[in-house]
């Protein structure tokens, strides 16, 4: 466990070693503001909740989270430091999880910095703050799922740009798998259980429920399992690709 925290600390510090972290947080805050107030019609809706804020997160994260995740392993492979890391007495689990957690905590930090949104809505009306908290939890879980996918794609590609594009593509598939246009493509020929299975993979249906304040154990499990599965895949991919 101590090895995990050492990897975690180093990784988190490395985000802040370059201006990247600050630029990322700035872009995230500006875009989430733009989405909420202009596209989401926060004022026009006349409701004291953060639905316009959370509704855009799956789309906002689609491009921003792979940008955090792309360097996780691609950079290690490119610079050769992966050889150093893998020959230190660190288990594969500690390395993969430590790096992932650092990225996840960083995403959480960016998310927490949107707190003026909460103050605004509390100033304007009387929102259900419990629902807002679950919304934040849901959003953070969603970011975690994107990051786990991004981590695996980063292990797959040596080039960060390719890692980014791969991650965006896979995340996009996970978003649209609940959309009618995708499901219609399946419903013609596939058995119902397969259609349901594809639909149940979607981030959107799960996230909608949590962001509205409904915490269902199954939704939590969905996100945590998804993260665990993609991290396990990351470990496998690293073993296969590390020497390339």
């Amino acid at each position: 466990m101590s090895q995990l925290s050492v990897v975690f600390k180093r990784e988190l510090a490395s985000y802040f070693a370059t201006p990247l972290a600050y630029v990322f947080i700035l872009i995230f805050l500006v875009l989430s503001g733009v989405f909420t107030f202009y596209l989401g019609g926060f004022f026009e809706s006349g409701q004291a909740n953060l639905a316009p804020f959370f509704n855009f997160h799956p789309w906002l994260y689609l491009f921003l989270v792979p940008a955090i995740a792309m360097r996780l392993w691609a950079e290690e492979r490119k610079s050769g430091t992966i050889e150093l890391l893998m020959t230190l007495p660190i288990t594969r689990f500690d390395a993969v999880t430590g790096k992932f957690l650092a990225a996840w905590v960083f995403a959480g930090l960016a998310l927490l910095l949107t707190f003026p949104m909460v103050i605004t809505v509390n100033y304007l009306g009387e929102p259900d703050n419990g629902a807002i908290i679950t919304g934040y939890i849901g959003s953070w879980l969603l970011a975690g799922a994107y990051l786990a996918i991004g981590s695996c794609m980063s292990a797959l590609a040596k080039n960060q740009v390719i890692a980014f594009i791969l991650a965006v593509s896979v995340c996009f598939l996970f978003i649209v798998s609940g959309f009618p246009m995708v499901l219609d493509g399946f419903s013609g020929w596939a058995p119902q259980w397969l259609v349901d299975a594809v639909a149940s993979l979607s981030f959107l249906t799960r996230f909608d429920a949590i962001s509205k304040g409904v915490i269902d154990l199954r939704d939590l499990l969905y996100f945590l399992t998804l993260i665990a599965a993609w991290l396990a895949a990351t470990a496998v991919v690293i073993d296969l690709k590390k020497a390339d």
Binding site: Q3, E83, L84, M86, P89, A243
Partner: protein, 307 residues
């Protein structure tokens, strides 16, 4: 003790390491020699647990690198080829990270880092980020992280590559000072380094072991072993020299105006040559008995020429 048994690594198209077996005892400094692409780095990557062998095994102080990976890795200090380090970290924070991974905390961590920094003379750049350092400093940062936990086994992949002569000398001195109770394996294609620091040399090419012995033994395999080289003011009677007992042949080096008289294997020809010079009254300016030329042995071994 490091034991390598039938170690083999196949990649898709070629066999990088082919049925390699040898063992290294504490106190030995093993020079791992071979041309580029011979399989030196691949062997080291398997020894340190970075690559899994296709077949065969390696054990570090009794810990199998495949089964007891972490225990084996704790015994090893490893400098990978090119000395990769996290460029965005400062030297101090990088070494402290390594110390923490190695399980050192608080005062002991600081003391370990300070000692390693002193050993490779990094004090001047301690607060600089690694990517701004020169190649020589980067290499020393890599060395510092490898020796930080005072490992029983040091595996250094081309430790002096890219260093200037002073730095090379310094690194060799460091390796020698560390070597007495450790197992040290260094890979290199600089032959003078083998004579300078190694107690044993292993030559490989195409993943196969070609020679294993002390640097002296290797040198004695040279056709120049016990050869006598003469520089004279006047032309010498080459036929008379070639006819001496024990002489295998005479080579003329026009560039240096010198003659090399080669000895047959196992023969000592210096007395005969000396007697002939005295008898004929030749004016000889220089006379050297050669130990053997390591580079020539290396070339003939790795290119399959007869020694």
């Amino acid at each position: 003790m490091i034991e390598i048994k039938n170690l083999t690594k196949r990649f898709a198209q070629h066999t990088a390491v082919d049925d390699l077996s040898f063992s290294v005892k504490p106190g030995e400094v093993l020079g791992f020699l071979g041309p580029n692409g011979a399989g030196k780095s691949t062997t080291m990557k398997m020894l340190t647990g970075f690559l899994a062998p296709t077949s065969g095994s390696a054990s570090i102080l009794g810990f199998d690198i495949q089964k007891d990976t972490l225990k084996a890795q704790r015994q090893i200090g490893y400098l990978p080829e090119g000395a990769p380090c996290y460029g965005d970290m400062t030297v101090r924070s990088f070494l402290e990270f390594i110390a923490e991974v190695r399980g050192f905390k608080g005062a002991e961590k600081r003391q370990r880092v300070a000692k390693a920094v002193a050993q490779v003379e990094l004090d001047a750049v301690l607060e600089q980020s690694i990517e701004t350092l020169s190649k020589g400093f980067k290499r020393r940062v890599g060395l510092a992280q490898a020796i930080l936990h005072d490992p029983k086994v040091l595996i250094l992949d081309e430790p002096t590559d890219g260093l200037d002569p002073n730095q090379k000398h310094q690194v060799r001195k460091l390796i020698q000072s560390l070597a007495h109770d450790k197992i040290v394996i260094i890979s290199t294609h600089i032959l003078e380094e083998v004579s300078a620091v190694c107690t044993r040399a292993v030559v490989i090419a195409h993943g196969k072991l070609l020679a294993d012995g002390t640097p002296l033994e290797l040198e004695s395999r040279s056709r120049y072993h016990q050869a006598v080289t003469l520089v004279a003011a006047e032309p010498l009677d080459q036929a008379a020299l070639a006819a001496l007992p024990g002489v295998a042949g005479v080579e003329e080096n026009t560039l240096e105006h010198s003659l090399s008289i080669l000895a047959k294997p196992g023969e000592v020809i210096f007395p005969q040559v000396n007697a002939l010079i005295a008898e004929r009254g030749w004016q000889v300016k220089e006379l050297n008995v050669e130990r053997g030329r390591l580079d020539e042995v290396f070339r003939s071994l790795t290119r399959g020429e007869v020694v």
